[in-house]
Symmetry: D3
Subunit: 303 residues, 6 copies
């Protein structure tokens, strides 16, 4: 699985990946994605998924920024919801496929293919968006994250954040995901006699988080929209010190949190590597560990 | 699966069923259950499960009443919680096994066995509670329903009541339970822009409900503690008319419901028959269908 | 599983079964089936499936006749096609759900329910077809059997008739079907160096066959449209003697068979019983065994 | 599953069951079993299995007696041996199929069919043993129980007798067998610091035992060759008092037991009923419970 | 999985791979394969499979050429045939194991082992073909591809070529094969109202094809016996332009195709790399893309 | 999976691996392992397992030596025992978790983390062993190998050594273990008419063996306590010549072997590489192949 940013304007150029499926999460700017199956208009707080082998182009107006995750195995599906049952979490009927659209147009057309992590290209003299109709379910789709029917504790304790799973891509090993896609949307907190923010923990999976908009409740400083954090497998982490203090002393009345905000997590059993750009001094939040009361000396140094 | 009442005082008598496991839900009066594995003290809002073949006696002081369900296949287990994950719903660590207890006592001892729905008995001259110690996990247990960490909507819609599943006993056919044990405990309702009580529905499983204490939110009249209702497979039902009116017009602020109350449901893919006692005119709630605005003419008559 | 005939005209009456799903195969006369989900227009060579708990009425003009199968467990699904893969046999996209339709009409309305094999009824003062819209996939559907893309040998040998399976309803035991629905449509025979009709065999499942129209290739006499045959588990049977002779001596050029004809089979691992009507002397084909060269003394008599 | 005795001489008569597979365990007299697939010569300490729908006749010389078990679901297979792995227990290569044999013979031939527990018959004018050759693996077979490579404790404790499982017929529910076929052959006992005979226990399955030859180590009296015992689900039982005393006081040197003896068990998750013949006073061992020190008052009486 | 050619003559030398199983498809010249289990005589239109760890030598007379595929995980098995059922496709009874053969011969004997892609060797002074007898099913085998009972459309549409699967080697992920082995043998085409050759498509698996003899129907030029083609994952491809024209205009009478011809495909979910030899200018078909009307500009160039 | 030696004394230093679980087998010297969950005292003939992400320190007095295996996927579990059933092999109740222990101590504390095979470190000013209590089952444990209830042949033949499996860590592919942990403890041999030591064989898995104490029955020379042997996938091996001669000629009376001895095997479907230290001339047993009568020329040389 690789996760990278995509910020490009293509004219008469289409792209497809032979390596995996792409989940695209715009954070800034609306995307008009043209695919062989038709158009997907995707705005921040929505996501799009484009599968392996499907050709597409993206048009943006003005500045655009977002997150892209490519999975090299299997596909995103709705999780087996267990006792949550019907109506809760993400529902199949809220996912939208494109309506067929074609153009019969001669032009210089360039196709870029990503295969085994390298790029190849070919030229055609006709628009590749010439698919007149389609049926089946191997097709790109979009989903509006505001339609996620969030479940949580309505009694006394703090559940695992897995309860916010929108979609999952499974390995063959139950519980070991290629990628779980989890969101932290606007929601009510009513659990009594408990510590309401995410608690300190280690995770056998690695957690990549992004912030689409607003303030994330477990990290009120630094984690601005468009930024990202990575907690690798089994390294302990948790809410920042200020959040801890506040949550430990507040009166636990019903409270709506993250109003107007939306953060997300890609959680994976695989290992993520970071690019040079990501660890560049100018891009790193060098104060990250200081806001944590308990974790401040856990920042790892290469020996 | 059969569900029946048990209200008896045994002296030097033990019982075991060769037919199935028993879930015992006291509604009135505390039970002191002696088993071959030791004692289980069980009070209303707690449950006990005693498996096939395990000998036990029940001692009560004063009046006692409750519900008993016998399953003829498989065993009760915690459901696969899916995205609910750790901490939510019922947790294994909250189930209590008895501590070994034995007596070396000569006496007239009667053993009653239920086998294929008939009763057999044998006499011994020694207490059968002579088990000095035990290990393994095929042992009776109790669970305090107040430890159930209830999940629900913290956003906008009404989830399936399956989200309140405490335990399940599965058939070989996923989704078709021998018996799902579901509770309706004290909890917060915060879902916005919705109808908060259970909605009108049909169910491919049959629903047997009991009320342990308090007022059940979908049926405020008639369904008194100690009573029971049965909605057989595919017969439509829902909240009573008054509940519907109130829920349709109230302002949807955070609200704690069923405070101090507790109802439960046994839901089964099998067919339940009713005893003569259950359909006796004096025991039936003959006004049940009248409080329902929509369902009143759906009471079935034998043709 | 029970299989029975349904030939009725209902006015302001709806029916639902709490016992199982119904597959309806009209053989004579067009059916206009009204359901809570909308209308299904079903003609001979089409089928309809109406699931447990769904209310419906059937309107016919003139004479109507057909076959109905009720399954008491699970649902009909498309079989896992194995190597047949995409495009072959029945395809999901050819199954049609009804379009939502409702009426807001006060009237005397009778609902008949079948539950545990008995009939119950209730009266309402409003049409029950008042469902304004619906989503989900637990809904009645129809399928046109002429859309079945028939596979068969294109080389040299005769495959198992399971290759003609349209839908199946599975038990938990792989290979043991509650009901396999198989058809014998118009098709090409090109296999060389072989005996092309169904061969003599025994079957661990029982075979109930019906003839919708035309002449069935393994039984050219007697098995007229609207009739039925039953071969119970492990009783040997095969093509009639005349068919055997012809198939053994003909030159095996490409040949289109059953042109304009359509027979079907319901095959089940359960045991079927026959009604009095079915074994009435006037309805039985008393010459059935005589046309079989080999099997004629195999007609079983009760000892 | 039914278990019954078969002691008959057929001339130009063949039998087949539409209800299930038969395991035949001769205890006295050699059997020459003619089947459609050829002959199986089966002697005491060997077994034969004849599947549903396969026609066969049995010829015996002189007196013959044995045990027959009919399973109404699935088939006997070798158990998944787990860590026992290759070479241990029963091995596939030791099971013998018949060699094809046919006769082209006109005669009066009677076929008897068992279907739903009733018998039917038909007449033919030709021997039904006219199968010239066959392939496949749905065929009758025999197995010599002396080829069973018995595993057991070679250290210090007493394993579950399931370790002596020769074949099993499984339900869909792991661990719940339609029928486990287990033997107690000649073997070494070397476990130290333990009680070597079967210990006192209850079983969620019912145990039907037979004695083919010799003395069974847990019951030295009464359980003569050709007799049978039945311990129904969850009724406690164990070795007789004399066996208990001896095993509790003997020095535990390596010891070969059951030399020349062979007992067996059919263990089933289903319920067995007994025939009138089985519970006839003259056939019952009325002293059975007296030889048990601990269990003597556990003989159940109908209340 | 690697696929390579093997064209060698060994004297007193044996080879075994610790890395995987080999499927050997001779295209020119007969092979006499000596193994520890005996001899396999394999000719063009037959295949042999020799498993990991089994020592063998190959003797050829004159020129020999063919295809070899090595799978690094699991083994080849017959696919679950689904509705095709008995008799169709490849049948277990047509696979031949060698008959045990041994030699007691002192000589200089060299053993070559392939382990982790590297070669190792050892010397012995005795023939390693000294295995006197064997039992089990982990043994080399051969199969005559002319025994494949080919299924296909006998009605109106073109099925997925998966219908021609002879054997498969599965990953743990259903539908993702380590290697599917598929053939395109002589067969009848009778489907009406359709385009009969393989249609244009993309495949999530990579397709390696070889031509054993004759003319392949989707590519009449260039793809001569002994050559190979590779279409990597998700790159579109289809029949050549001439084939398209002809198939689009021909009258669709029953037609026997590939008479005397035989092509095959190894299809894999893994990625195949090509050797220098394979992409050498002299070995490449540089006109491949020109015969395709639609695909001609899709030949990828390294950017 | 990697297997390496660990011989270190840590003061105020803790270690955790993000890569996998560790099985620690002390061979010389007692270990006091401090973990976040409490202490594990582990002596030779016992083992400890410490899972991914759990911090621990090891204290030894005097010389210490042993074997450590790290598994990069899944966890060790008890194998499905199959017919061995209850009581045999390793039993869950004999595995010991640590009792919670904490210290509230300020100090210089160094944490070393192994992640992707590299080491990282961090400093803290407080003991990380500050966990006051815990629940759950993801916790380190120990097991005393002398509690293994060894099964084996008590009749006539030699079973697969898989019968000595203590724990297994499975891949997704049944029968292909990440690591099977097998022991060869003191036990009785009573099988008659057979060759009692391990027979000559090849294995699709690689076998790493270690000797904890005593003499291993299949290799009496050279394989001293603390040494190790490795037989890679599919390379044949077996008992040494002297063992073969003795076992072929001895009288097969009951015999207790490996009295006071204990060897073990880690068997894996993955490939093991050897360190420079392991193949150093001074550490290798250069006479290993000479004691084997049959295998002596099979030592592989790099070509």
């Amino acid at each position: 699985m690789s996760m990278y940013a995509c910020n490009t304007s293509m004219v008469d150029t289409a792209f497809y990946s032979s390596d995996g499926d792409l989940m695209i999460i715009p954070q800034l700017g609306d995307l008009m994605i043209q695919t062989e199956f038709g158009f997907l208009s995707v705005q921040p707080t929505e996501i799009a998924v484009i599968q392996r082998g499907i050709k597409f182009s993206v048009e943006v107006e003005g500045e655009a920024r977002g997150y892209v995750c490519e999975i090299y195995k299997s596909h995103f599906i709705l999780p087996d919801l267990g006792p949550i049952g019907a109506n809760g979490s993400a529902n199949g009927r809220d996912f939208s496929y494109p309506k067929a659209h074609f153009e019969d147009r001669d032009c210089e057309f360039r196709i870029i293919n990503k295969y085994l992590g390298e790029f190849f290209e070919a030229e055609m003299e006709h628009s590749i968006y010439d698919v007149v109709g389609w049926h089946g379910n191997y097709a790109p789709y979009k989903y509006d994250l505001k339609r996620f029917n969030t479940m949580g504790s309505i009694s006394f304790d703090h559940p695992d954040p897995s309860i916010f799973t929108v979609m999952t891509c499974q390995t063959d090993d139950p519980g070991q995901a290629v990628c779980d896609f989890v969101i932290f949307p606007e929601r009510w907190l009513v659990a009594e006699n408990t510590f309401r923010p995410p608690y300190y923990h280690r995770n056998t999976m690695s957690e990549f988080m992004g912030n689409i908009c607003g303030v994330y409740d477990a990290k009120e400083e630094g984690f601005i929209p468009g930024s990202a954090s990575l907690h690798s497998t089994m390294t302990p982490h948790g809410p920042e010190a200020g959040v801890f203090e506040k949550a430990s002393t507040s009166k636990l009345a019903p409270q709506k949190i993250s109003a107007g905000g939306l953060a997300f997590m890609w959680e994976t059993a695989y290992v993520m590597t970071v690019t040079d750009y990501a660890v560049d001094h100018n891009n790193l939040d060098n104060n990250y560990y200081k806001v944590s009361k308990f974790l401040k000396i856990l920042v790892l140094a290469w020996t």
